[in-house]
């Protein structure tokens, strides 16, 4: 056991420890392509041979016009013809910032004071082709604004829609940044199916509330979405590894830009601006309530004012309650509820006051007002609460209780807590239940049931898999046998007397079907030529066969299909020739 462990450890160490390089040091630089579009990403591989991990990292030149991301490093160790060679591959992803022709490289690496240089590559970056007309390709990003002209502090909805007909993943979004413009995401991105210019797309939509704090004309630069496009390259169908887990799916990084937009932000009008305007812009409404409206002296009533609506709700000011004669006022902490929906920001602010009258009588609670700019009506409006009256009856003074707010909850105190003190020590009693005799007896599994549960499912699966494989193999071998016999059968059929064009064309079609495992109902000269070319038959033989089939077709279509045909002797020779040439 110990020996096996030492052996395994030695093998493990042998594999993981960096090994001395015995080969010459070399460095190569490779791009996955030399021409790309501005929105593309290019994979660059720098291959270091004969170096160990930690020796040095390559220094790359000529990448000033690219965003460079290192996507991976892998170590290589290979033994070719008894010669050991180790190396490191560095993979980078290049995203061009501008168009032009660029010299990428050389990459340089310093090992033991000596500098090694790689080759350089030329990379041409062109403008992305904007297809004219309606066709936008399988992936594109569209941006839109709910309104192109808004007021300062008014909200516009900036929506981004990713149209895709391919599988994408690892999405990340870079929103355009601009001074005085604030983006806030509205809810979660939504995914739905839609049609764009007659083509069905999966659409991923994400919305942002956009508020400008200063007037002006804003050029909103394109939003940039980075993603990985997944394109699966499946293995042979029916294989054990033929599923997404084992399939080799290629992941291509991609960047999409939306179109730039322009937003005009105009200042709020001066005319009609209410005094003490807080900058509240949107559509709002106010409601108020006094509970209870009839109390005894010393008791409290709660005045609640709630302002709710849509817009820059953070600008809702805290209303001030004027001093009232003979009434003590306790202000509660206002509560701001902020929400978002697909149309923008919504919310409410609730303000409460506890009113405690000191004397009986009828009190008038004056209306409170707030001004805001109504974006629906394009003018300033003032909202006012209804005046309320409070009837106070004589009574025993009671404890004043301010309205319960987030910090003013009622606290209750129980008896003082003490740590539990142990008085005695002993063990817990025996398990005396009869059912204890029947449970807890599986100390170690073993026996037949153990092996059956462990191995039977594996055998059932393996057996079924083998059965399926054998079944498939026998189907393949039947097809192969058929192909082998095809020429013989055809030649035998051609030996018959009085062969008509109809018969011959049927026999030739059958020959092609059997020989190449096809199921063609009829065979045209071009189809036959295509098949023969793909199987490596010479152009001469192919043309001869094409002529033969054409001649037979002509005979059939000109009503001579049932007449005797003299070609029956020549075709077998052609088929034999074809058999020789088939790869």
């Amino acid at each position: 056991m110990k020996r096996a462990t030492i052996f395994l450890a030695a093998v493990f160490l042998f594999l993981i420890l960096p090994l001395p390089a015995h080969a010459d040091i070399s460095i190569t630089l490779r791009l996955d392509r030399n021409e790309a579009m501005l929105m593309d990403s290019i994979t660059m591989l720098v291959k270091l041979s004969g170096v160990r991990k930690g020796d040095s990292r390559p220094v790359l030149k000529g990448l000033e016009s690219f965003d460079v991301t290192r996507t991976g490093t892998s170590s290589r160790f290979e033994i070719i013809n008894g010669k050991m060679n180790s190396g490191i591959d560095y993979t980078y992803l290049l995203r061009p910032k501008k168009t032009g022709s660029f010299k990428i490289g050389p990459a340089e690496v310093k090992v033991k004071g000596k500098t090694f240089r790689s080759n350089a590559e030329i990379l041409k970056i062109a403008e992305p082709v904007r297809s004219s007309g309606t066709h936008r390709g399988p992936l594109f990003l569209k941006a839109a604004l709910s309104s192109r002209k808004i007021y300062v502090e008014e909200e516009a909805v900036y929506s981004l829609k990713l149209y895709c007909r391919k599988r994408v993943g690892d999405l990340s979004l870079n929103l355009p940044e601009s001074e005085h413009l604030a983006f806030k995401q509205l809810g979660k991105p939504v995914e739905y199916q839609g049609v764009y210019n007659g083509e069905s797309y999966k659409i991923l939509e994400v919305r942002y509330s956009l508020i400008a704090s200063e007037e002006g004309i804003y050029a909103i630069r394109p939003s940039r979405m980075n993603m990985t496009v997944l394109e699966s390259r499946r293995r042979s169908p029916g294989s054990l590894f033929d599923d997404p887990f084992f399939s080799m799916s290629s992941r291509r990084p991609m960047t999409l830009d939306s179109e730039p937009l322009e937003l005009e932000v105009v200042p709020l009008p001066e005319m009609g601006r209410p005094a003490g305007f807080s900058g509240l812009v949107g559509t709002f409404e106010i409601e108020s309530g006094l509970e209870p409206s009839r109390i005894k002296t010393g008791e409290s009533a709660t005045l609640t004012i709630r302002l709710r609506g849509r817009g820059n709700i953070k600008r809702i000011p805290d209303l001030k309650m004027p001093d009232l004669d003979q009434i003590k006022i306790y202000e509660d902490q206002p509560v701001l509820e902020e929400k978002t929906d697909s149309k923008g920001l919504t919310g409410a602010k609730t303000m409460k006051w506890a009113l405690v009258p000191e004397k009986e009588g009828r009190y008038r609670i004056p209306p409170l007002s707030i001004g805001f700019f109504d974006t629906g009506k394009h003018k300033y409006r003032t909202l006012k609460t209804r005046p309320r009256s409070l009837d106070v009856l004589p009574g025993e003074p009671t404890r004043v209780q301010a309205p319960a707010g987030p910090d003013k909850g009622k606290t209750t105190e129980g008896p003082a807590k003490k740590a539990v003190k142990e008085i005695g020590h002993d063990i817990l009693p025996v398990h005396a239940s009869m059912k204890d005799l029947a449970t807890g007896s599986r100390e170690r599994p073993g026996g037949l049931v153990f092996w059956v549960l462990l191995l039977l499912p594996l055998f059932v699966y393996g057996g079924t898999l083998c059965g399926l494989k054998i079944g498939r193999k026998s189907a393949d071998s039947m097809t192969a046998a058929k192909a082998k016999k095809a020429a013989k059968d055809f030649i035998r059929q051609c030996r018959q007397d009085d062969l008509s064009s109809n018969d011959l064309i049927l026999y030739i079609t059958n020959y092609f079907n059997n020989r190449f495992g096809l199921s063609l109902g009829s065979l045209t000269p071009d189809e036959a030529a295509g098949i023969m070319e793909s199987k490596g038959v010479s152009p001469e033989t192919t043309n001869k066969m094409k002529d033969v089939i054409k001649t037979l077709e002509d005979a059939v279509y000109t009503g001579k299909g049932y007449d005797g045909c003299e070609m029956g002797e020549n075709i077998p020779k052609l088929i034999r020739q074809m058999e020789k040439e088939i790869r």
């Binding site: 997404p244 020590h425 063990i427 817990l428 025996v430 398990h431 204890d436 005799l437 007896s441 594996l458």
Partner: protein
Amino acid sequence: MKRFISIFILAMAFFPAPDANARTNGWDEVFFKANQAYREARFQEAIQGYDRLIRSGPRNGHLYYNLGNAYFKTEQLGPAILNYERARLVIPRDADLNFNLSYARDQMRDAIPQSQGFFQAAFFWLDSLSMGELFLGFAVLNVLFWGILFIRLFLRMEWTYYLFLILLIFWLIGGSSFGLKWYQARSDDRAVVLKKEVSILAGPDVRDTVLFKLHEGTIVHHERSEDGWSLVHLPDKKRGWVKSEAVELILTNS
């Protein structure tokens, strides 16, 4: 086929299975008497009863626990801890057992440092699960895992793929847990000191130098036995020989 079934049923009628109740009735009685003895503080009698059941009867965790209790009451800390540890192999999450074991350990005189290996830290749940429970869990996962692979031979739908991935992860975790527990159980070399105080000698001879002393209940690791002597070591690598009768392996042979 029908005829075969009829014959089988008839055969079953004429040759019934051995009466399970008759077999367990004897155990019930012994168990009842041992419990009664324990309650009436006749602990030696209780020890004999539980011991008899373990040797010839169901051998379950609760019996080891009860036996441990009875030993504890007779102030035999070593055998008490030995039986609690044996019970822990089968019913590791039993609250009474863990309480009593912890209490018994508090009574021990030797402070032995406990070291936790990488695997014990990574597979922290192993201590709370018995081998039987782990096996059952893994057996179910095994059936489900191969079952989904079997289904995928005929039904290649997306949900089967994701189910396969989930089951693969659980199957790997379950399999490695079970394998590790199996290995632990096979290589469990822990033994408990049964005597009040034992001398650990430099060699298997009473004339050899006394290296250190251990007291009842201390858990040592047993290396090998020779001529009535056992070579043991502590987690801190102290090693020495002790009379074999003074220690007993937690892992039972049967």
